[in-house]
């Protein structure tokens, strides 16, 4: 692997540009490079691993028990990348991609354009918004944020720590905090009790998947050490008098209960991070089971735009193991498309990978059904900020939706939601679902934000720093 430090180290073009150095991106880049392609791997973090294997090459934690063996397995993937011929650009922002496969990248305030013959987007997942009242208060963060602090800096939240929400990551974080000797005070479980009814039909597949043993170990370890409050149906967070936050929650028809917390860690599943794909013009589709939009892609990860593949959790939430395997498939397909092997050779190499995907995949539907967050927690509460950046409440969304606003893009014009620095990453699904609910239609009919580059904020100075040819200047200068 060649580590690039700044944009001036970049070539003007590469065979393959991979965005994101998580399990899928590392696997795609390593695979493509193994077939002799010139590969650039661009990542926002300073070391490879993505979120799931965050800081895998430099975590200060030595006790492997804390993060668990599933985390340490990431080391092998990072080692394969280190041993490969991939050009790796860390600490970089990818702010542009178009159908001509031209990327706009920035590092440390300097920007450059790079062209690819194939683009592989492995932008991963982000945590689903949790738009309850008070989710913007200091002291309230996502479970994933606390996990990042644990992995990258060896930090644990101190004092009364309350986890609230649903989904595998919530339980994983709880078990890691237990293993670190700092069990959380309580878990407020918002998993709808009725989900079991829908999940049970997918149970046989789950029984035969590797997730069963893992899940049981996790749940037992947490339940032994942590107070779990099941069946939470209402949740709000208020500023506390003597603590960061006070949780106010309901369990069904029971009267409101209160709990003081120094840290509140929220989580209700993950969804694909679609911003770059969306801005590039890749078609999205709505998944009712996973309650999110995802880029349309085929069995190789090819999107609706020729030359752009999307892989890993960025295209469909399926977990780290499947993400790495699908990343490998995208790498193989790039090698095939760029003439390094024929389709027959590609298919032969892909067959055992697909077989492994299938063993994990048969456990997924159960998890998706069991941990599907309730409508109540996906739709914004009246007093909750649906859009954190522009501070738009659930009530405002509903009032404006009632005027007949057809979709999220019109909502932008009315309320500015989605127009702040996060560019809809933390409000997109909330706004879509609120409009859909108001109109009584499916989010599929409402559609998602139409995003445009730059997909991350950059300064005009950064754009001005880009190398330009005489013809570029001639194009804009008045003679």
């Amino acid at each position: 692997m060649t580590r690039l430090e700044q944009v001036s180290d970049l070539q003007p073009s590469y065979d393959v540009v991979v965005v994101g150095a998580g399990p899928a991106g590392m696997a795609a880049a390593t695979e493509a490079a193994a077939h002799g392609l010139e590969v650039l791997l661009v990542d926002e973090a300073v070391s490879p691993g993505g979120q799931i294997f965050r800081a895998i090459t430099q975590t200060p934690l030595r006790n492997r028990e804390v993060l668990g063996e599933d985390y340490w397995r990431g080391r092998a993937a990072a080692d394969s990348l280190l041993a490969s011929g991939v050009h790796y650009l860390p600490g970089a922002t990818v702010w542009h991609l178009d159908a001509g496969l031209q990327f706009g990248l920035s590092v440390g305030g300097r920007a450059a354009a790079v062209t690819a013959r194939r683009a592989v987007l492995a932008t991963g997942a982000l945590e689903r918004p949790f738009p309850v009242k008070g989710w913007t208060l200091p002291g309230v963060m996502s479970a994933g944020a606390a996990q990042t602090l644990l992995k990258a800096s060896g930090m644990v939240p101190q004092g009364r720590v309350v986890l609230a929400g649903t989904g595998p990551l919530l339980w994983l974080l709880a078990s890691q905090l237990v293993a670190a000797g700092h069990p959380p005070t309580a878990i407020l479980d918002t998993t709808p009790t009725g989900n079991w009814r829908h999940a049970v039909r997918a149970f046989p597949g789950f029984l035969r998947s590797p997730y069963l043993a893992k899940g049981l170990r996790l749940l037992m370890r947490v339940r032994r050490a942590v107070r779990v409050v099941p069946g939470v149906t209402e949740l709000a967070i208020e500023p506390g008098a003597s603590c960061a936050a006070e949780l106010v929650f309901h369990r069904g028809m029971r009267p409101a209960e209160r709990m003081a917390a120094d840290h509140v860690l929220l989580h209700q599943g993950v969804t694909p991070n679609v911003n770059l794909a969306n801005a590039a013009g890749c078609a999205l589709e709505w998944s009712e089971l996973q309650a999110c939009f995802r880029p349309r892609s085929d069995a190789w990860g090819r999107s609706s735009i020729e030359g752009i593949a999307i892989t890993g959790d960025g295209s469909r939430i399926a977990g780290a193991e499947i993400a790495a395997l699908r990343g490998q498939l995208a790498g193989l397909d790039a090698a095939c498309e760029l003439g390094r092997m024929d389709a027959e050779a590609r298919d032969k190499l892909a067959a055992p990978i697909r077989a492994r995907i299938a063993t994990y995949d048969r456990g997924r539907e159960f998890l998706d059904r069991l941990y599907r967050p309730s409508d109540h927690f996906r739709l914004p509460h009246d007093e909750a900020l649906a859009c954190r950046c522009e501070e738009v409440t659930g009530r405002q969304l509903r009032e404006v939706a009632a005027l007949g606003v057809p979709g999220p893009n019109q909502m932008k014009s009315m309320l500015r939601c989605g127009m702040g620095p996060c560019q809809g990453r933390l409000c997109g699904l909330t706004v879509v679902e609120a409009v859909a609910a108001a109109r009584g239609v499916s989010p599929a009919d409402v559609g998602y934000y139409r995003l445009r580059s730059p997909v991350k904020p950059i300064t005009v100075a950064e754009i001005a720093s880009m190398p330009r040819k005489a013809s570029d200047e001639k194009a804009v200068l008045r003679v």
């Binding site: 926002e44 973090a45 300073v46 979120q51 800081a55 430099q58 975590t59 200060p60 934690l61 030595r62 006790n63 804390v66 600490g91 305030g109 982000l126 945590e127 989710w135 913007t136 208060l137 200091p138 002291g139 309230v140 963060m141 996502s142 994933g144 944020a145 606390a146 990042t148 602090l149 990258a152 800096s153 060896g154 930090m155 644990v156 939240p157 101190q158 004092g159 670190a180 000797g181 700092h182 960061a244 120094d262 991070n273 954190r388 950046c389 522009e390 501070e391 702040g420 620095p421 996060c422 990453r425 933390l426 904020p457």
Partner: protein
């Protein structure tokens, strides 16, 4: 406040990083991002919002939410969770929107 596990603050294996936070001397470790270092110092608020001036702190720690925005070495609107802490860095909490020219 966030606390470092004993193995994560062993000064023999980890390098201390000195920086200033709103003009006062502060310390973190190599491998910390600016946002992580602030949280370890008990700072759960790092900015006031541009719209209403309400306090915010890091929410996602992965570059998505933009609630950890701080001024670093005179440049505003930097995502504290993505910027590695460096020796001698000048970090300031950000009040409202980024000032023109900063």
């Amino acid at each position: 406040m966030f606390q470092r596990l004993p193995e994560a603050c062993d000064s023999a294996s980890r390098t201390s990083i000195h920086f200033t936070l709103d003009g006062l001397p502060a310390e973190g470790f190599a491998g910390d991002t600016v946002a992580a270092a602030l949280l370890a110092l008990g700072r759960d608020t790092c900015r006031q919002t541009a719209v209403s001036g309400s306090p915010r702190g890091p929410y996602c720690m992965m570059g998505v939410c933009f609630d950890c925005l701080v001024v670093i070495d005179g440049v505003g609107n930097r995502q504290g969770c993505l910027v590695p802490l460096r020796e001698g860095m000048v970090v300031e909490t950000q009040a409202g929107k980024r000032e023109i020219g900063r």
